[in-house]
Structure formats: C-alpha cells, structure tokens
C-alpha cells in the first residue's frame, strides 16, 4: 500500500494509465467485465470451480491427468485417511472447490507415519487429518461452502524441467481464449513461495513463447529476474518439452468445458507428457508481466474472428503460432 505513494500525483497516474493502455495490458475490471462476464457462462463455472467435476470430465474425454487416489467427503473418513495414502510415495490433497491454490497440500514422501511437505518439513498424520477436516468444513472453498477433499497421485516432473523448480512441480498456465491458446507462462515454486506455484505468493513466473515453448522473460514479485533465486539456474534457457502436445491438450480443455476465457494449468510428466492439473475460469493477470506483453491486442485479434470455437484444433494452433509468437 505504501509503495503506491507516487500514485498520488495525478500526472504520473495519467501517464502510466496511457502507457498501460498503449501496451494493451488487461486490467482486473476489464477482465471481469469484458471477458469473464461475456465469454464464461455462469452455468459452466461449476465444472471448473469443482475440481472433481473437472477430473471426471477429463477422464471421460481421456485427457491426461493425475490419477485420483480417493475422495473424502465426510469427517469420519478423514480419520481413515491413512487407508488412501498408506503406501503411496507422494500424493497431493486438494479441496475440490478451492480457489487461488488455497488448501493444496503436497506430500512428496512418507516415512513411519510422518509426511514430508515439498519444502522439507515433516507433518504428523494428525496434522494431515486436520487439513482434510478443514477442507471438508469449507475453509478454502469459495464462499465457505462445505467441500470434499481429493487425493491425487503426484506427477513426476519432466527431467528437462526438474532443475528449474526448487520445491514442487513446475506447472504451466496457458490462457485459452475462445479455444485459441493466447499466452503461456511457467510457474516455478521457490523458497520464498513456500513451495506454492502462485505468483502472488512469491513464485517465479516465466513467460513462454507460444510458438516454441521457450522462455521469454522471468519475474518474481513483479520484478524481472534472470536466474532462479534458489538454484541459480539461468531461466532464459528454459525450454518446455513436448510443447505442441501441450498446446493441443490446452485446446481440448476448452472443448470439454466450453469456457471462452479459460486458464489451463498443466504439468509435463516424465512418462505421460503434458497432463491437466486444473482449469480456471478467472485466470490472473500476472501472466502479462511474465510475458512482458499485454493480453488485449491478442484477445482483440481473436474477437475479430467469427466463431473460432468451431475451428479444428490444428487450425487454432496454427493461428496462435502465426499471430502470437515472439
């Protein structure tokens, strides 16, 4: 809040406002009003707001996605938690209706009834059970409604990407507008973000060239960086493997859920290739900072087309490669 003091100067405010307009930056109000309200029908929200629905849909259409180990939907089962997880190497517990990455607990190893978080801390079984119990009571869900906890297998991040992430699995966010991939970034967890991959929690965002999957620019806490703060790896050399497969997966996500302005979260699994983590009907704006580019010019290009939703996946990707590469 205090960093905003120069904003008290009306001239500087006006200048910045104009600069941002000319860069084509999408703001929160415009995103909500022009894109989410217009292209995302309210009736489709439950598909993405409830990750269990997303998962069912993804399985139905045979999209690659982490296996569902179990679903806990009542407090009694929370005490039976160890049945689901007793012999698993690593797993992930998430609230079905969580938002903004809230309530996701990633366990990378278990040993003698203790569970290791991605940042190396050990948790007792009781602590994991309390987490599940909190999920069920709706602590992390939108509007505090009661919720269910999903337990998923942990993916093995692709070898090519493993060195870029200090903690946790690096995931890739693609914005898909009316079926066409528009912008992409990779989110890397680090010490500062406590293993979380959300940019506002301090994770690193790496903008990716939509044509090649190669890094363009990297930011942390809205500031440009060159190297990973924990590992010192040069971020500009980052290249996502199996990029075209990934774009295809992102396009099919639009087809299964029907949301016009969609954020797709994906990971590259060592064996399975690109896999769907979750969908987001209100994708954040920081992807613009990571890419050092505004979304608006790209969105407008697509808005000028009649019914791009009906194109084939190949044509959509072709369009993206032709217009949005850098």
């Amino acid at each position: 809040m205090f960093a905003a003091l120069p904003l008290l100067d009306p001239f500087s405010v006006f200048r910045r406002y104009k600069d941002m307009r000319s860069l084509g930056l999408l703001g929160m109000n415009q995103r909500n009003h022009k894109y989410i309200a217009r292209y995302n029908a309210r009736s489709l929200f439950p598909i993405v707001d409830n990750k269990l629905h997303t998962k069912e849909l993804a399985l139905e259409y045979r999209l690659t996605t982490p296996d569902l180990l179990g679903v806990i939907d009542n407090q009694h089962d929370a005490s039976l938690l160890d049945r689901f997880i007793c012999d698993k190497e690593g797993f992930c517990i998430k609230p079905a209706k969580g938002s903004g990455g809230k309530g996701i607990l990633v366990i990378k190893a278990c040993e003698q009834g203790r569970y290791q978080k991605t940042n190396g801390d050990w948790l007792e079984l009781a602590a994991v059970q309390r987490h599940v119990s909190n999920i069920l009571a709706g602590l992390f869900s939108l509007g505090g409604a009661t919720d269910v906890a999903m337990i998923e297998t942990l993916l093995v991040p692709s070898h090519a990407l493993a060195k870029y992430s200090h903690h946790g699995v690096p995931d890739i966010r693609v914005i898909v507008f009316r079926g066409i991939p528009v912008m992409a970034m990779m989110r890397l967890a680090c010490t500062e973000s406590h293993g979380k991959a959300n940019l506002h929690q301090g994770a690193i965002g790496v903008g990716l060239n939509i044509a090649t999957g190669r890094a363009i620019n990297a930011v942390q806490r809205d500031r440009c960086i060159e190297r990973h703060p924990d590992t010192g790896v040069l971020l500009s050399e980052l290249q996502v493997p199996r990029w075209h497969e990934l774009l295809r997966l992102a396009c099919s996500c639009h087809e299964i859920c029907g949301l016009g302005y969609l954020g797709v979260d994906l990971v590259i699994d060592e064996r399975e290739g690109p896999a769907l983590l979750e969908l987001n009907a209100r994708p954040g704006l920081s992807i613009q900072i990571a890419n050092n580019a505004g979304l608006l010019p790209r969105l407008r290009q697509i808005e000028a087309i009649k019914k791009p939703e009906l194109w084939t996946v190949d044509k959509k990707i072709e369009f993206a490669l032709a217009h949005f590469s850098r």
């Binding site: 905003a4 904003l7 910045r16 941002m20 860069l23 930056l25 909190n134 809205d222 050092n292």
Partner: protein, 503 residues
C-alpha cells in the same frame, strides 16, 4: 452475448432523473434546504406510554415539559386513538391527560414534542420550596454520617453549586457511609434533604438525555439546585454539571412523570431524534401529516423508526465507498462489505475507541485462534470457540476500562461479534498461507476503508442529504451501476504493472 448498451444508458438516465426529480420535489414542496447550513437544531422527542387496561375507565396523566432554559418547545402532537385528550393546568403545572371509558388489554399512547435548542434562551423558574426533611429528624448512625458528609462538603465549597458538587463527591468517596444511608432512602433524596438543611433550594427532577437516534430510553433522576433565580442540573452520580449530551427536564414539579389510573404495568419510554430545520420554517411549522405518495420522506414514520432509518440510509454511502475503493483503487479488504459494518460500529463507539478496540480484539483473537488450531477442532466448533472468546474478551475489556475510569471502553460491545470472529478465522488462515504481510495489508485496507466510510457517514452534509432526500438513493444506485461497467485500470494496477511500463 453482445448486449446493447442502450437499455443500460436509459436505465441510468431514468434513475438519475427520478432521483433528482424526487429530491427537487421535496425541496420545493416541503422547503427542505439542500444544505444543512443556517439551521436550527431541533430535538424531536416521542414519549411512548404503555399499560395494560383493567377493563375499567382509565385516566393517564403525563408530565409535559414546557419551554425551558436552552430549549424552546415549537410543537406538540399526540396519537391516541379512542382516547379523549386534554391539557390540564393545576397549580400552574400543565400536564397531558388522556381518558377513556373502557381500557382493555395493552394500550399504547404517544406524545411527541419538538424542542428547538437555543443556547441563549434563559427561562427563570420559581425556586423550589425549602422544607425540612423528615430524613434528618431523630438520631442514629446514618444521621451522623449524613451530617459528617455535609460538614466536609461545606468546608470545601463556596456557594450552592460548588457545595452540591462537593457533596456528590463526598458521596462517591465515602462508600461505606453512603451504603448505610442508602438503606434508608435513595441517594437523590439524601442529597436534596442535606442541601435543604443548609438552606439551598433544590429538588429532584426527571430528565431525558438528548442523543440522536436513541430509542426506548428512560428518564434519569437529576438534581436541580437553585441559587436565586438561577439553577444548575447535577447528575447525582458523577456530580458533573454538564453531561456529555444535553438534557431536557421532563418533569420538574415534584410530581410523578406518569400517572395511570385504571391500568397496570405502565411503562414510559422515549425516542429521540435530532433534526436540522431551516430557521424560517420554525415559525410556521407545517407537519406533513397527510401521507402523499410523492412524499418520499421518512418523516411520516413514527420517531423510533425514523431514528432507525437515519442509520440505515447511510449504508448505501458506505457501500458506494467500498465500490469506489475496490473498483477504482483496488484496495484489498477482508470480506467485501465488512468495512461498512465496522464503520457502522465506529459510529456507535466513536472512532478512537473503535480503532483501539478493533485492533485489540482481532489481535487477541488471533492469538487465541493460534492456540485453538493446535487442538485439532472441526471448523464450526473452532469458530464458535472464537466467537465465545471474542465475547469474553469484549466483556473483559468493558469491565477493565470501566474500572480504569474509561467509560468509553463500554461501547466496545457495539462491535458485530460474529463478523469479527469470522474475520479472525480468515485472517488466521491467511497468516498461515500467505504470511503476516498479507494479513496486515487486508486488515489495514479494511480499516482504511472503514475510517473513510465512517468519516463520510458522520459528515453533516451527507447525513442531511441522505436523511432528507430519499431520491438520492436512486442516484447512488446509478453511480454504483456505472461503476459496475468501468473497465479501466485500478490505481494499484498502475503500480503493479509499473515494471513493464518502465521498459
């Protein structure tokens, strides 16, 4: 899904037009000024008499305050369907008397009067008669105690008023002696008796504290002490000459304030509301008795409801502030409209007390919540535990501040406790997930919004406009709708994307 903008623009136009037209109509027809300037403060007081009839004829007699020092009565009005009403004067004392042939079941009578507050107005009153009190006759330990109190007060005083002040102070200091005295008669009775003993004319009067928005308030016993033609009112417990809020003497002829014949369980309660009226209007005070569809004023409602609405009509202002600050500036708050609720409680508690109380309660609540999280409780039980802790905390703070002599602290109980408990729970989770900085940002943001909202709600002009011109609510509605279509950047986004602009 492309919507045409025309219906929206028409709607906005209609809302603004209707709102302004209604306000204009009210301004022209009822002479309500746009601004609260050059105005007379007027206290509308409504006495509500309740009793249960005993199937017999009933006579109800109510003391009616006349124009007195500081207050000029400008109008009076009664509502009592089925009753005969007469203002009777006996021995120079005017009272309202209602009568009915058969009073059956619960009866409610209203008397409403309006008093213009006039600082310069001095009304002489005949001094109280000095009669020797029966209380001081005879002997006994209590007589000795009373005389000792009187003697020491007398030594420290110079005139009638300082004597009264000192006497009350003695009563507050000598707790044991006063305990003995109060077994025989009330404190007020003793004070009057002792003052009369040394020739100071005084009497008990029933006064009404004038505080805007008061509902169901009761008369208080005060002392009226004379010095010649002059008099001063004393609170028999604090000894203060001037209470925080002005007081109106309701009954000052040593008679009962309310007298009901043929009824039981009688109750007298008051609602008070402060109004601003143009000075010119006071001369010819025409009430808007006949309700008119276009008269969108709440001044036709009973006073107690008006007092309620005065607060309610300010809420849209708070909501508008939240809209502005979130959409145009992008301030993050804990809970969308929580700041408005906090601001409303600030109005009750006063700003500083409210801020200190809020920080204390939320801070301590977070500590308690930190402990509760170790107990591995279910969410609903945990929040219930936080609610109970918050209530205990509020009670403790109230008692503590009262013991320390800070009567301000008592107002802490006006906080919305359930909302506070949820805030504590959310903040606690936020702390675990995003760290203390985010908690500070959100709590700070909420308080910032709350303070701005509070400042606006307390503003004389805002209060005047919202209370007198209901049509302006439509204009606020239109502004909120327009804000809902604002697609420009938020102020904080200018800061957030600054790294990109620089390049």
């Amino acid at each position: 899904m492309n919507h045409s903008k025309t219906p929206f623009v028409i709607l906005i136009f209609l809302l603004v037009f209707a709102g302004l037209a209604l306000s204009w109509h009210r301004h022209i027809t009822y002479n309500v000024p746009w601004l609260p300037g050059e105005q007379q403060q007027v206290w509308s007081v409504e006495a509500r008499i309740e009793f249960v009839g005993e199937n017999t004829p009933a006579i109800v007699s109510l003391a009616v305050p006349e124009t007195q020092t500081g207050f000029e009565r400008i109008s009076e009005y009664t509502a009592s369907p089925g009753y005969g009403l007469e203002f009777v004067e006996r021995g120079g004392v005017r009272r309202a008397e209602w009568s009915v042939r058969l009073a059956q079941g619960k009866q409610v009578l209203y008397y409403r009067a309006e008093y213009a507050a006039k600082k310069m107005l001095q009304v002489k009153q005949a001094s109280a008669q000095i009669v020797e009190s029966k209380l001081l006759r005879g002997s006994g330990p209590h007589i000795t105690v009373a005389r000792t109190l009187l003697e020491s007060a007398k030594k420290k005083s110079a005139d009638e008023f300082t004597l009264t002040r000192e006497l009350i102070r003695e009563f507050n200091n000598q707790i044991e002696g006063v305990f003995l005295l109060e077994q025989h008669a009330s404190r007020e009775a003793w004070l009057v008796a002792l003052l009369q003993q040394v020739g100071v004319a005084s009497r008990r009067v029933s006064v009404l504290e004038l505080e805007d928005g008061r509902r169901r308030s009761q008369l208080l016993d005060y002392l009226q002490v004379f010095s010649g033609d002059d008099y001063v009112l004393f609170d028999p417990f604090t000894g203060e000459r001037n209470a925080e809020s002005p007081v109106l003497m309701w009954e000052y002829h040593s008679q009962p304030a309310l007298d009901v014949l043929g009824g039981r369980n009688s109750r007298l309660s008051f609602s008070v509301i402060e109004q601003k009226m143009p000075v010119g209007d006071l001369v010819v005070r025409q009430r808007e008795m006949q309700s008119n569809l276009l008269d969108f004023s709440i001044h036709t409602l009973p006073l107690s409801e008006q007092a309620l609405f005065k607060g309610i009509l300010l809420i849209p202002i708070g909501v508008l502030v939240v809209c502005l600050l979130r959409i145009l500036i992008g301030i993050r708050t804990a809970g969308t409209f929580m700041p408005v609720l906090i601001a409303i409680s600030f109005i009750q508690t006063s700003l500083v007390t409210g801020l200190v109380g809020f920080v204390l309660i939320v801070g301590t609540g977070l500590l308690i919540r930190g402990y509760l999280s170790q107990l591995n409780l279910l969410l609903v039980a945990r929040i219930s535990a936080v609610i109970i802790s918050v209530i205990i905390l509020i009670a403790l703070l109230a008692v503590l501040s009262y013991q320390l002599g800070l009567s301000e602290g008592l107002k802490i109980s006006f906080f919305p406790m359930i909302i506070l408990s949820w805030t504590i729970e959310r903040m606690s989770i936020l702390w675990e997930e995003e760290g203390g900085q985010e908690v500070l940002a959100q709590v700070g943001g909420s308080l910032f919004v709350a303070v701005i909202t509070y400042a606006l709600m307390m503003n004389e002009y805002v209060q005047h406009l919202t209370f007198n011109f209901l049509g302006l609510q439509l204009v606020i509605m239109a502004i909120v709708l327009i804000l809902g279509t604002y697609t420009g950047y938020r102020l904080f986004e200018l800061q957030r994307f600054y790294a990109m602009i620089k390049k």
